[in-house]
């Protein structure tokens, strides 16, 4: 752990940017058709629940990283191994998002450029940021947050002004009942983006005022969930369900359809900017969590010494993770949620919380017995 503190506002913007990153760009929950917005909102509700689990763990050990308290909860060896697995998981996740980003960029603008180069450049930026530490990342987040919302509000006004929105695209609501929506929630939206909040267990110990963590977390998830809902609803009202489903990046298609006064058109650049800003924060946070975890497990005093070697590892993983974009997406949709997200985001935290609860109960019993 580095000696640094972030404040409540910074945690808030980091959570919002993190949640919006990549989730804002992909056709999130589109399997629920017209009810995608509902699936996102329900996912958000489950997201609150997951966040409360993470927060409860944080409350038991407010100044410890998960890699430390896992060793307290599960014993030195199992805890260490689990912490190691988590660090790897965070780094793998950062490599996945990096790959997502590279593929997006190649398909949107740079068809001839090698993936490796695109990823390399972003990874250099991320390594530089992580090297500077969490405080710098948090401050950068504050500025990017205001820029992003500036873009978002401008974009929203432009979409409304160009008269693209057709509310009938959102109908019928719940044509086939709630079950298909719930299925999408359970298989998709819980994990991405809301379950990804697990990464913030690595960030909470840096908070200067632990009391506000819960309030900040809940409100940040609510804001990002509502924003994602709005984005998806706008996408569907502008494009219709079919087009949204077929589009790789519905937000991009939506932005491309803005046309005002024969002058404001083809605003792809804003999409690329929003994409880079949010994805940058997302990968950086994942990578930071991985680096801090590794540094903590291997007792490295200057954690930022690990940044460049681990960064290169993430870069190489991001390129070699899949041989093509379709393979990458298939892995992302079918394999990763079940094999990685489900245990790492839900099952293990639940088990940890259970054991921590029992331990604390035993402890308080023991202490009260000794008091008596």
């Amino acid at each position: 752990m580095e000696k640094a503190k972030i404040d409540a506002v910074q945690l808030f913007v980091l959570i919002v940017l993190f949640e919006l990153g990549s989730a804002m760009l992909i056709p999130l929950a589109i399997d629920a058709d017209e009810n995608a917005w509902l699936a996102i909102l329900l996912g958000m509700a489950f997201g609150f629940f997951l966040f409360l689990i993470y927060h409860a763990l944080y409350k038991y050990y407010p100044d410890m990283l998960p890699t430390q308290y896992m060793q307290k909860i599960l014993g030195k060896y199992i805890g260490w191994a689990l912490g190691f697995a988590y660090s790897i998981y965070f780094m793998y996740a950062s490599a996945r998002v990096l790959r997502d980003f590279g593929e997006m960029l190649l398909s949107v603008a740079y068809r001839e450029t090698p993936l490796f180069i695109v990823n390399l450049l972003l990874m250099f930026l991320i390594m530089y940021t992580v090297y500077q530490g969490i405080e710098v990342l948090a401050r950068t987040g504050e500025i990017l947050f205001s820029l992003l919302y500036l873009f978002a509000i401008t974009g929203f006004i432009l979409i409304v002004a160009s008269g693209l929105i057709d509310i009938t695209h959102l109908k019928p609501v719940l044509e086939e009942g709630i079950l298909p929506v719930l299925k999408v929630v359970v298989t998709e939206t819980i994990y991405v983006p809301f379950g990804e909040m697990i990464v913030f267990t690595m960030i909470f110990p840096y908070l200067n005022n632990p009391k506000v963590a819960r309030k900040i977390g809940i409100s940040a998830i609510a804001l990002s969930g509502i924003n994602l809902t709005i984005v998806m609803a706008v996408n569907i009202t502008v494009l219709g369900v079919d087009l949204t489903k077929r589009s790789q990046f519905p937000l991009l298609t939506t932005i491309q359809s803005i046309q005002i006064a024969n002058f404001l058109e083809r605003l792809d650049v804003f999409f690329v900017l929003a994409l880079i800003m949010t994805i940058f924060i997302k990968i950086t946070l994942y990578f930071y969590a991985g680096v801090i975890g590794m540094g903590n497990l291997f007792k490295v005093e200057k954690v930022n010494q690990l940044v460049y070697p681990l960064g290169l590892v993430v870069l190489l993983i991001s390129v070699s993770i899949a041989s093509s974009i379709s393979e990458h997406i298939k892995e992302g949709l079918k394999v990763v949620p079940i094999l990685l997200h489900l245990p790492f985001q839900i099952i293990i935290p639940l088990i940890l919380l259970g054991i921590a609860f029992l331990k604390s109960k035993k402890k308080s019993k023991g202490s009260s017995a000794s008091d008596a």
Partner: protein
């Protein structure tokens, strides 16, 4: 082999020692004065190499002690020496009885009654005497006494207070700092007439012995920052300080950056405003540029006039400045990106026009832009360095070279000329030269990234710049404050400028806990009663 390495290391050490020795030979001998006047005068001549500007005036009379006044010509106020030292001594001292026994008595009399100056000190070691002498004081040596009287007679030719050259404003005071530290301190003191305005002076520079003053408001400036500034200034060990730039480079937090982490100004009103916000002014003798610490990024966009104009105007101009700064950073880069990668971004007719122009140009957009930017930078540099009479020639040649000949010769396209000119004008409109010049450097990085990766490259460099800016600190204060970290109560003086009556708080991160700036209900308004009006109410406005 190891022996060799060992020897090398030894050699290095001895070199270091030698350098230290060299520096120390510049030190003035730390000996006591002798009680023989002749010896003292000889010693003084010896130490100064009998320099021709060392004036030694012997004052001799019948039955009178031998007195000698020594001063450096040009540093002193000659009239003052003639009237209040030499004349008063001649007038006041009558032949003294039993001179040999009462020398001490006489000396005390001269000190207490005769020399009519506000500042007279006694020194008996050479170091202080010579230091004061070189600072413009007059040294009075009395035969038989091993103590010298040092009279403050500083004066001589200095530039008078003029309008500052580098920070012009339409509304606001016209005075600017000069090269004299006393004048500069007094200019600030005249604006803040408060005993809590504290000044600490120190000599920095082993050889030059330059006076450096720290000025801050006690109780408003953060003590930790004051201590930090003092510590950094005290730890400077260098032979010379010729300008405040020396100090700036020796005390800044981060050296690997193009952004200035200390603010410098030529305007006393700007300095006073900064001191009132809890900052510390560092005034260096011999330069009109006063350093201000800690500095934050947004400060470089604040011109003094912002505070003198009304808030709506000031806010719009702030916006304009941030916009022009952005333009001066990315305009050429955007042009390159658009013409090489993202032609679809521009309306079709415009892109056709641009490509028609570019058709005749033999270079890719990046080379074209680089060519023009470098030409422009050369012209600008030449314009600054040349004597004023020739300077205008440069601008004519430049206008012809950039404006017409290059386009007609088909080397660059007219659109490129427009872009470069806009960039140049934009960079001139940034109020602080220090930040404009760093934008000039970063612009080339943006151009390079745009040439290789289009908008993606620009965005990457932009975020890189943001991260870098956020990583900077100036005396512990985050550079991007109050935006990141956010302190909402101070946002009123950033990209927007709130009305003066809404500036209730001093910058939170810079000042002390004492942050309250103004009382409640400062918003002005029309009078509650209509009693100020001369007409009766029932007559209405029209009557």
């Amino acid at each position: 082999m190891p022996i060799k390495i060992h020897r090398k290391r030894n050699k290095k050490l001895s070199k270091k020692e030698r350098i230290q020795k060299e520096v120390s030979t510049f030190n003035i001998p730390d000996e006591m004065l002798s009680d023989s006047l002749k010896e003292n005068v000889e010693q003084m001549k010896k130490v100064t190499g009998n320099s021709s500007d060392l004036k030694i005036r012997e004052l001799k009379g019948n039955d009178f002690v031998n007195l000698t006044a020594v001063y450096i010509d040009g540093l002193v106020n000659n009239q003052f020496i003639n009237e209040f030292i030499i004349e008063t001594i001649f007038n006041n001292i009558e032949p003294y009885p039993d001179l040999e026994e009462n020398k001490e008595d006489l000396f005390e009399r001269i000190y207490a009654e005769v020399v009519a100056s506000g500042e007279v000190q006694k020194f008996s070691n050479w170091k202080s005497v010579l230091q004061e002498l070189m600072g413009g004081s007059t040294v009075l040596l009395v035969d038989g006494i091993s103590t010298a009287l040092v009279v403050d007679t500083r004066g001589g030719e200095t530039r008078s207070v003029e309008e500052p050259g580098s920070q012009v404003s339409i509304r606001g005071p016209r005075d600017g700092f000069t090269e004299s530290i006393q004048t500069n301190i007094s200019l600030i003191r005249r604006r803040i007439q408060n005993p809590n305005l504290w000044v600490e002076t120190m000599k920095i520079g082993k050889v030059t012995q330059t006076s450096v003053a720290m000025m801050y408001l006690n109780g408003i400036a953060n003590e930790e920052i004051v201590n930090e500034v003092r510590k950094r200034l005290k730890s400077i060990d260098i032979d010379s300080i010729l300008e405040s730039g020396y100090i700036e480079q020796l005390i800044e937090d981060q050296t690997m950056t193009t952004f200035p982490t200390l603010f410098h100004t030529e305007r006393p009103d700007s300095t006073a405003g900064n001191i009132l916000e809890g900052r510390i002014a560092i005034i260096v003798d011999g330069t009109p540029f006063v350093l201000i610490a800690p500095a934050i990024f947004i400060q470089f966009f604040q011109a003094v006039e912002d505070y003198y104009a009304r808030f709506d105007i000031a806010t719009s101009i702030r916006f304009l400045r941030v916009l022009t700064f952005t333009i001066s950073l990315v305009a050429p880069a955007l042009y390159i990106a658009v013409t090489t990668f993202h032609q679809e971004m521009v309306p079709t007719r415009l892109i056709i026009a641009i490509s028609a122009q570019r058709d005749a140009v033999p270079f890719p957009a990046f080379v074209e832009a680089l060519l023009m930017e470098i030409t422009f930078e050369i012209l600008r540099e030449a314009g600054i360095r040349l004597p004023r009479a020739v300077g205008s020639t440069v601008s004519i040649v430049g206008a012809l070279v950039i404006g017409q000949a290059a386009v007609q010769a088909g080397i660059v396209s007219p659109a490129m000329v427009i872009i470069v000119s806009i960039t140049a004008i934009a960079s001139f409109s940034t109020p602080s030269y220090a930040i404009a010049i760093s934008a000039r450097l970063i612009r080339f990085l943006f151009m390079l990234s745009a040439a290789t990766f289009g908008v993606y490259g620009i965005a990457l460099v932009f975020i890189f710049m943001l991260v870098h800016l956020c990583s900077l600190r100036s005396f512990g204060v985050p550079y991007m404050a109050p935006i990141a970290p956010l302190s909402p109560s101070n946002l009123g003086d950033t990209i927007v400028r709130f009305p003066i009556w809404a500036f209730t708080q001093r910058p939170r991160l810079i000042g002390n806990k004492n942050n309250k700036r103004e009382g409640p209900h400062q918003k002005p308004g029309p009078p509650q009663s209509r009693s100020l009006k001369t007409t009766a109410d029932d007559q209405g406005d029209t009557s």
